[in-house]
C-alpha cells in the first residue's frame, strides 16, 4: 500500500501563513470618522437576525425567544433595537390599576383601561376621596338633615319616654316611683316625692304595705314587658335613621360620583366599580366623617358635638378611611408610544411577578391593602416584550418557576413565593390576576440553552424560537469593510478618538486572533470595544490625536501583561529547570507535547514532557493519568486509539505483545483532550523501536486509528508557548513545532515568532500523518510496507515491526506448554 505522505517532504509553513495581515488599502478613509455606521451592530449574523425577526413578530403560544451565544456578542443591544423598531408600529398597551374590592378587601380588583387613562381615573378618584368628607359633613351638618334626624330621634325618644312617662304616671298614682340608677331601674314607694325609708314603710298599716308590695310586683312585670319591647322599637328607629343617612349620603356624593362617571362610565369595569363605591360610601358615612371614632359613644359624641379632629384629606392614600377610594396604578403607559419593551436586570421573583408590601401599624402588626400592591416587570411589559438574562433569572430563587407559571397560565397573579409553594398560610391579599400577553426574550450562553432543553420539560414549549448568534464570522472582503465600519461606530459611540487605517487593521487582526482563525474574526464585539477603549487610553498617553497601530499593539500587550502572571511563573519554572523540558538533543521514548492552560482571562501554551515505556505484555497501552483518575475521557479515548493504530499496522499476524505506559511528566492536575495523542504515539513508537526523538521539536495534534493527524484547538498559544522557552534558551534554527496541517489556517502568531521563522531561527511544520512527524523527529525514513509484508531495513517501521515481533516471540516462549503447544 503506497502512502503519499511517506514520500512527501514536509516544508515549514510559509511566512504569509503565520499571520494574516489585514489590508484595508481598497477602503478609502483616513480615520474612522470618515466611515459610516453599518446598518446593524452585528455583522455576519444573518441566521440570528432572521431568527430574531421571526421570533419578535411571530404570534402564538410559546413563541418566546432564547438568544444564545457568547455574552460578548451584545445580543441584548441588538435585540432591543430590533424590538423597538417593531413596537413603534404597535398600539400602546393598556393601563392597569388595582382598586378596593369593597365586598372583600383581601381581594383587590384589577381594572384595565386604555393607555394613559389610568392617571386621569386616579386623579378623579383622588378628588372624589379628598372632597368626600367635606361633601358629607356639609350635607350632614345642614339644617335640613339635622332637622330630619332630630325629628326621628325625637320621635324615638318621645315614644320611649312616653312609655316610661305612662309607667311613671301609673307608678305615681299607685304611690310608687320609677327611677334610673347606675344599677338599672328601681321601683320604690314614695312619699312627698321622696323614696320611703324602711321605717316609714313599716309604719304603714299592714293592708297598705301589702298593697304597695303587690303594686310593686305588678309594676315590675309591666316594666319588664316594656323593656322587652324596647329593642324592637329601637331597631325600627335605627333603620329609619340609617335609611335617612343613606338617602342623604347618596345625594351628597352624587355630584362627585357623576364627575367620574361622565369620563369613565363607558368602561364596564369602572362603571361597576363606581356603583360599588357609591354604595360603600353610603354604608360608611360615619367612618368617613369620623375616621378615629371606633367607639360608638365617641362616634355619637363627635356627631353631636361637631368636635371632629383636624384632618388633612389632601392625600387620601394616607387617610385611615379614604384610602379605600384611591386607585393604585400598577401599569401606566401614558408616556409610552408603542408597546412596552422592558429589560429587567435583576429578575428576582418579586421584581418579575410583583409583590405585596406590608406596613407596620402602630401596634406593631404587619398590615397591607391594595394600595401596597406593587407591579413587577411582567406587568410593565404586558402587551410588549420583556428581556431577561437567562443566567440571572435561573440563579434567583423561585423566579424561573414564577415566570413559567405566568406564561403557562397567561395570568399574572401576585403572590409571595411562600404562598405559591404553599409554605405559608398567613392571610394576605389575593389581587385579581391580570391577563398576560407578553413575549419573553431570554438571552444566555449556549450551554445554558442546551441544559434547559435537556432538563426542563417546559422549556421547549415556552421558548420555541432559538436565536443563535455566531461566535465568529468569516473574514472576507465584505465583512472586513463592515467590521471597519463597526469599529468606527463603536469608537464614536464610546466617544473615543478615531482610529487611523493602521489602527483599524490591527484591531481586525486581533479580532482574527481572538477567533483563533486567520479566516475569521470574532463576533464578541464587547472584547473589541474593550480593546478600543484601552487603545484610546494608550493613544492619549502617547499624545496621539488618532489611535494608531502601535497604540492597539500596546493595548494588546498590556492586556497580556496584566493577566500574564501565571504564564510567567510557569515559564520561569521551565527556565529554572524545575520543570524538565529539553530543547536540544535526542531522547528515546520522550517528546515535548503542548498543552493550553486557560484560567480566568489568561490563556497560554505550556510545553509538557510526555514519556513512554515499553515492556512485555498483552498489548495494553496504559495511560497512567487515567489510572490515577487525572485524565478525562477524551484523553483516555486518544490513548486507546494508539493501541488500535499499533495493532492494525504491526500486529496483523502476531499478537501485540507489549505493555506500554504513557505519562505526562510533572503534571499535577487533570489532563483532558486528545491533542496530545499524536505526541503520545511518537513517544510510543520511539520507545518500541528504541529510536531517539529530537527534543528541539515540540508536537501537537490528535491522531486517528489510521495515523492521520487531526486539528486541535489553541494552536497559536501552543506554538508561542514552546517558542518562548526556545527564545529564552537561544534560537538554534533546529527548533520548531509540529502542528496539524489543518491548523495552518488558524495561525495568527505574534510578531517576534513570525520574525524568527522568517530568519530561519524557528520552524513550524505542518503534518498530515504520523509518519511525516516521525521522520521529522528522527531524521529516519518511515519505510513503506513491501509486498512480503515487511519493511525496508533501517526504517522506523522496520524497527518497530522487529521489536514487536521480538516481544511476541518472547511472549510465545514464556506462554508455551511443556508439550510445545501454547496457551
Amino acid at each position: 500500500m503506497a502512502n503519499d505522505h511517506v514520500n512527501s517532504k514536509v516544508e515549514t509553513v510559509a511566512k504569509d501563513q503565520l499571520f494574516r495581515k489585514c489590508d484595508l488599502s481598497s477602503l478609502k478613509f483616513s480615520t474612522t470618522d470618515d466611515l459610516t455606521d453599518p446598518e446593524e451592530s452585528l455583522i455576519g449574523q444573518d441566521r440570528a437576525l432572521s431568527s430574531a425577526d421571526f421570533g419578535i413578530q411571530m404570534e402564538g403560544e410559546g413563541y418566546n425567544v432564547f438568544a444564545l451565544g457568547p455574552e460578548e456578542t451584545d445580543k441584548r443591544d441588538l435585540l432591543e433595537r430590533m424590538i423597538n423598531r417593531q413596537v413603534a408600529e404597535y398600539e400602546p398597551s393598556p393601563d392597569w390599576c388595582y382598586v378596593c374590592n369593597y365586598a372583600d378587601e383581601q381581594k383587590p380588583k384589577a381594572i384595565k383601561l386604555p393607555s394613559g387613562k389610568a392617571v386621569r381615573f386616579r386623579q378623579l378618584m383622588h378628588e372624589l376621596a379628598s372632597d368626600l368628607p367635606n361633601a358629607l359633613t356639609s350635607t350632614f351638618e345642614s339644617e335640613e338633615y339635622q332637622n330630619q334626624r332630630q325629628a326621628i330621634e325625637e320621635e324615638a325618644k318621645e315614644e320611649e319616654q312616653k312609655t316610661f312617662r305612662e309607667l311613671q304616671k301609673k307608678a305615681e298614682k299607685k304611690g310608687l316611683a320609677l327611677m334610673s340608677s347606675p344599677s338599672g331601674f328601681t321601683i320604690a314607694p314614695v312619699k312627698e316625692g321622696k323614696v320611703m325609708k324602711e321605717k316609714e314603710v313599716n309604719e304603714l298599716p299592714e293592708d297598705e304595705r301589702n298593697r304597695l308590695e303587690e303594686e310593686v310586683m305588678n309594676f315590675q312585670k309591666e316594666l319588664s314587658e316594656a323593656l322587652h319591647r324596647l329593642p324592637g322599637k329601637q331597631r325600627q328607629y335605627r333603620e329609619k335613621r340609617q335609611q335617612l343617612d343613606k338617602e342623604v349620603a347618596t345625594y351628597a356624593v352624587n355630584d362627585l360620583i357623576k364627575k367620574v362617571e361622565a369620563e369613565f362610565g363607558e368602561f364596564e369595569a369602572v362603571q361597576e366599580y363606581i356603583k360599588q363605591t357609591q354604595e360603600d360610601i353610603v354604608n360608611h358615612v360615619n367612618r368617613i366623617m369620623n375616621p378615629g371614632g371606633q367607639n360608638p359613644m365617641q362616634q355619637a359624641m363627635q356627631q353631636m358635638g361637631g368636635g371632629m379632629p383636624e384632618r388633612d384629606t389632601s392625600d387620601p392614600k394616607n387617610d385611615p378611611v379614604l384610602w379605600r377610594y384611591t386607585v393604585n396604578i400598577v401599569v401606566d403607559n401614558s408616556k409610552k408610544t408603542g408597546a412596552p419593551v422592558i429589560y429587567e436586570d435583576n429578575p428576582t421573583y418579586t421584581n418579575l411577578i410583583g409583590r405585596i408590601e406590608h406596613v407596620t401599624s402602630q401596634m406593631g402588626a404587619m398590615t397591607t391593602d391594595f394600595t401596597h400592591v406593587k407591579p413587577g416587570a411582567l406587568h410593565q411589559a404586558n402587551g410588549g416584550y420583556l428581556l431577561i438574562d437567562a443566567f440571572r433569572i435561573l440563579t434567583k430563587p423561585y423566579a424561573w418557576d414564577g415566570l413559567k407559571r405566568a406564561l403557562q397560565g397567561k395570568k399574572l397573579k401576585i403572590e409571595s413565593p411562600g404562598e405559591m409553594y404553599g409554605l405559608f398560610s398567613t392571610k394576605t391579599l389575593e389581587p385579581d390576576p391580570i391577563d398576560l400577553d407578553v413575549k419573553i426574550i431570554l438571552f444566555g450562553d449556549r450551554m445554558l440553552y442546551y441544559l434547559l432543553c435537556q432538563y426542563d420539560q417546559d422549556f421547549n414549549n415556552l421558548f420555541k424560537v432559538e436565536v443563535d448568534f455566531e461566535d465568529v464570522i468569516p473574514w472576507d472582503d465584505q465583512n472586513q469593510e463592515l467590521y471597519a465600519r463597526l469599529i468606527a461606530r463603536m469608537a464614536r459611540k464610546a466617544k473615543l478618538k478615531p482610529l487611523d487605517k493602521s489602527g483599524v487593521e490591527r484591531v481586525i487582526e486581533h479580532a482574527a486572533r481572538l477567533a483563533h482563525d486567520s479566516q475569521k474574526v470574532t463576533a464578541e464585539i464587547r472584547k473589541i470595544e474593550d480593546l478600543l477603549r484601552e487603545s484610546d487610553y494608550w493613544s492619549r498617553k502617547n499624545g496621539n490625536q488618532v489611535i494608531k497601530r502601535p497604540d492597539v499593539d500596546r493595548a494588546i500587550q498590556h492586556q497580556h501583561y496584566r493577566s500574564g502572571r501565571l504564564k510567567d511563573r510557569v515559564q520561569e519554572e521551565i527556565k529554572r529547570k524545575n520543570v524538565f523540558i529539553d530543547t536540544e538533543g535526542r531522547k528515546t521514548g520522550q517528546v515535548n507535547g503542548l498543552s493550553v492552560l486557560s484560567i480566568g482571562n489568561t490563556v497560554f501554551g505550556r510545553p509538557t514532557r510526555i514519556t513512554a515505556r515499553v515492556q512485555l505484555g498483552r498489548g495494553e497501552v496504559s495511560n497512567i493519568e487515567r489510572e490515577v483518575e487525572m485524565s478525562g475521557p477524551i484523553h483516555s479515548k486518544g490513548v486507546l486509539i494508539l493501541s488500535s493504530f499499533l495493532g492494525a499496522r504491526y500486529a496483523l499476524q502476531t499478537p501485540l505483545s507489549i505493555s506500554a505506559s504513557l505519562v505526562f511528566e510533572q503534571s499535577y492536575s487533570g489532563v483532558d483532550g486528545d491533542s496530545a495523542s499524536s505526541t503520545e504515539l511518537y513517544a510510543l513508537l520511539s520507545a518500541i523501536a528504541e529510536i531517539p526523538l529530537k527534543q528541539s521539536i515540540a508536537v501537537t495534534g490528535s491522531v486517528n486509528q489510521h495515523g492521520t493527524v487531526q486539528p486541535i484547538g489553541g494552536v497559536n498559544e501552543k506554538v508561542e508557548g514552546f517558542f518562548d522557552i526556545c527564545a529564552y534558551r537561544g534560537l538554534t534554527g533546529e527548533q520548531g513545532v509540529l502542528i496539524p496541517t489543518a491548523n495552518v489556517k488558524n495561525l495568527m502568531l505574534k510578531d517576534e515568532l513570525v520574525e524568527a521563522v522568517e530568519k530561519g531561527q524557528f520552524n513550524i511544520y505542518p503534518v498530515d500523518h504520523i509518519d511525516q512527524g516521525m521522520e521529522l523527529l528522527t531524521d529516519m525514513k518511515m519505510g513503506e510496507k513491501t509486498d512480503s509484508g515487511t519493511y525496508p531495513d533501517d526504517t522506523i517501521n522496520a524497527r518497530v515491526y522487529e521489536a514487536l515481533n521480538r516481544y511476541a516471540s518472547i511472549r510465545q516462549k514464556f506462554t508455551a506448554l511443556p508439550n510445545g503447544s501454547s496457551k
Binding site: 351638618e141 327611677m179 334610673s180 328601681t186 321601683i187 353631636m304 358635638g305
Partner: protein, 268 residues
Amino acid sequence: MKLKSILTALDSSVESQAGLRAAAELAGRTGAVLKSLYIEDENWFHATKTSIVRHINRHTGETIIVDEQEITRQSRALKSRLADQVDRVCNEFNVRSIYNSARGEIDFELKQASEDADLVVIGRRGTSFHTKDELGSTALYLAEKCTTPILMWSAYRNWPSMIFGITGDSETGAEIEQWVSMLSDLLSKDARMVMAGEWSETASDEKTVSAGEQILQHSFPWQTLEEPEDVYQWSGRGLIVVHRKDRLFKTIDLKKFMIKMYNPILLI
C-alpha cells in the same frame, strides 16, 4: 361679657354627654373653666334599704338584688367612667377642668353648684327619669329657682348655623342681644333678633336706646312677629336665646315654650 366658669351636670345618658361636649367647646373658646358635676341621687340609697323596692336590670327586665354596697360600687364606677370622659373631652378642646361629685337631691345640688358658675349646660330631655315625671324638669327647676344662665343642649345636634335672640321687651332684649353677639362671635354663626308680640311695634326705638353703642355695633337683622305664639315657627331652627323675665313669658308659658322648642335654648 366674659365667661369664667361653665358648669355641666353629668350622668350616663347620651344627652348628658352631648351637653358635656357643648360645654367643653364653649369653655375652650372662651377660656372658661369647665366644672363637671356628678350627683348621686339620695333616693338610690334610700331605695336599697326599703324592703318592698324592686330593682330591675335595664337590659333584661329581670329582678336583681341591689344593696347599698352595690349601688355605691356601681355609682363609683359610673363616676370614674364619667371622669375619664371629661378628661378626654377637655383634652380635645384644651380646657381646664374641675370634676366634682355630690350626693343629695339632684335639682337642689345642681342649683347650689350653679351659683358659682356663669353658665350651666345641661342635656335637654332630662338626665333620666326620677321621681318627677315631667320632661326637662331639672331645667325647669333651674329656670325657676336659680338666676344663672342655662344652656339646654339637645342631643344629636351640632352647633346650629343660626343664633336667634327672641325677646318681648327692650330691657331683657339688650341682655339677650349681648349673649347673641357673644355666641355669634365665639361660634362664627349668623345671628338674628326677633321681636315678638304687639309690644314690638313700639319697642324697636326703645331697644336702640337701651342697647347702647356696644350692641349697635353688631346691628343684627331684626325681625318682628305679629303674635307671640309665632315664635314656635323657630322650633327646631337655630340656637334660641331667651330671658327668664322677658315679657314674652307673660304671654306664653315658659314651660310650654321649653318643651315645644326642641332647639338648644339659652335661658338667661
